[in-house]
């Protein structure tokens, strides 16, 4: 239904860091209202692509269109980005950070944040410094999911999170997802736990798209899980 109105379109997108080409002419589309899995090994360009969409880095060449605009300030209000790194102020407490995000983003819902805090067993008075890596990962996710925005970008949201918490977290994510208003793009190299949620998948390797399509259609066509498919695609 939304095939003709993709939320993001890229054409011949190039980005290099020094002598390394991170993206080599990516042309693809991300369908609206779906959860797209951006899959690939480390260094394949997933983070680079997400950062380009967010406008945190600039492309060398090619076009990138997000909800009708190029990356920039207009889009930032409508995109929630979860980076792989820890982008939180270490000395602030979780509650202070929630207040900070609330003051900066009109789409931020402090009630949702509070709800998710207790769902994930985090204490608001603790400072970021005092948290374990897994807790930081969970909290970053809370800050992202508490925003009611049309586009959510998650860059390796599961790294550092223990196996037991992962299904918990993915459940929480799905429960908040509204396909009529939102699109989620999730980049990961851990496919086993996440593939059941993907509507669409894009395989990225060495900065190029190896394969893309509807997840269930790919399963039917190849008779394999996405994980198994990935093993074959990524030589």
């Amino acid at each position: 239904m939304n095939e003709n109105n993709p939320v993001i379109t890229t054409e011949n997108l190039h980005k290099r860091y020094g002598r390394t080409a991170a993206l080599q002419g990516i042309s693809c589309q991300f369908p609206r209202g779906k959860i797209t899995g951006l899959i690939g090994p480390n260094g394949s360009g997933k983070s680079t692509l997400l950062k380009l969409i967010m406008g945190l880095i600039k492309a060398d060449r090619g076009s990138l269109n997000i909800m009708g605009h190029p990356p920039g300030r207009k889009n930032k209000a409508n995109i929630a980005f979860l980076p792989e790194i820890n982008n939180l102020y270490r000395s602030m407490s979780l509650q202070e950070l929630i207040d900070l995000y609330h003051s900066q983003f009109s789409t931020f819902c402090p009630e949702t944040a509070r709800e998710l805090l207790s769902f994930m067993n985090l204490q608001p008075e603790k400072t970021v410094k005092q948290l374990s890596k897994g807790m930081v990962g969970r909290f970053k996710l809370i800050l992202t999911m508490a925003r009611r925005v049309p586009l959510i970008l998650l860059d390796e949201p599961l790294t550092g999170i223990d196996i037991k918490s992962r299904s918990n977290i993915l459940e929480g994510l799905i429960s908040k997802f509204n396909p009529e208003e939102q699109t989620i793009i999730l980049s990961t190299h851990e496919i086993i736990e996440t593939e059941r949620y993907f509507d669409h998948v894009i395989f990225l390797e060495d900065g190029a798209v190896s394969l893309q399509g509807d997840a269930d259609d790919l399963r039917a066509e190849y008779g394999q899980s996405i994980q198994e498919l990935a093993k074959e695609v990524f030589v």
């Binding site: 209202g33 779906k34 959860i35 299904s167 993915l170 459940e171 799905i174 429960s175 997802f177 396909p179 086993i192 593939e195 059941r196 949620y197 993907f198 509507d199 997840a215 269930d216 259609d217 399963r219 039917a220 008779g223 394999q224 899980s225 996405i226 994980q227 198994e228």
Partner: protein, 132 residues
Amino acid sequence: MQVNFYQSRPIYEQIIDEIKKMLVRKELQPGDQLPSQRELAQQINVNPNTIQRAYREMEITGLAESRRGLGTFIISEQDLIKDLKEEMAQLATQNFISEMKSLGFEAAEIEKWVKQNQGINEKKTPGGEGNE
């Protein structure tokens, strides 16, 4: 509904299969209302779009129908369960036969195997629906 999904088959198909099994096991009746897409997605921990696809597919194949403003319902067809049972029996049998043939058995031997195992009751493992 308790489902463990195989990732190598389209998930929406597995959902439809599970609903069919529930009908055959009388856990669901013809004419029953299916949970809302959102509810079901939460219940079995699946992307709501996948549920949408499953429901749409069931409407296309005539297994379910959507009533404006009310939701999605299994059709109230009398023979529905009978038809489903036949459909699923056919599929199970075909799978069994092709499995046996791939092991090298001929038709007569296959019949013998079926007769041999007639009397044995299947033990239900706890919460074991959908486990093979």
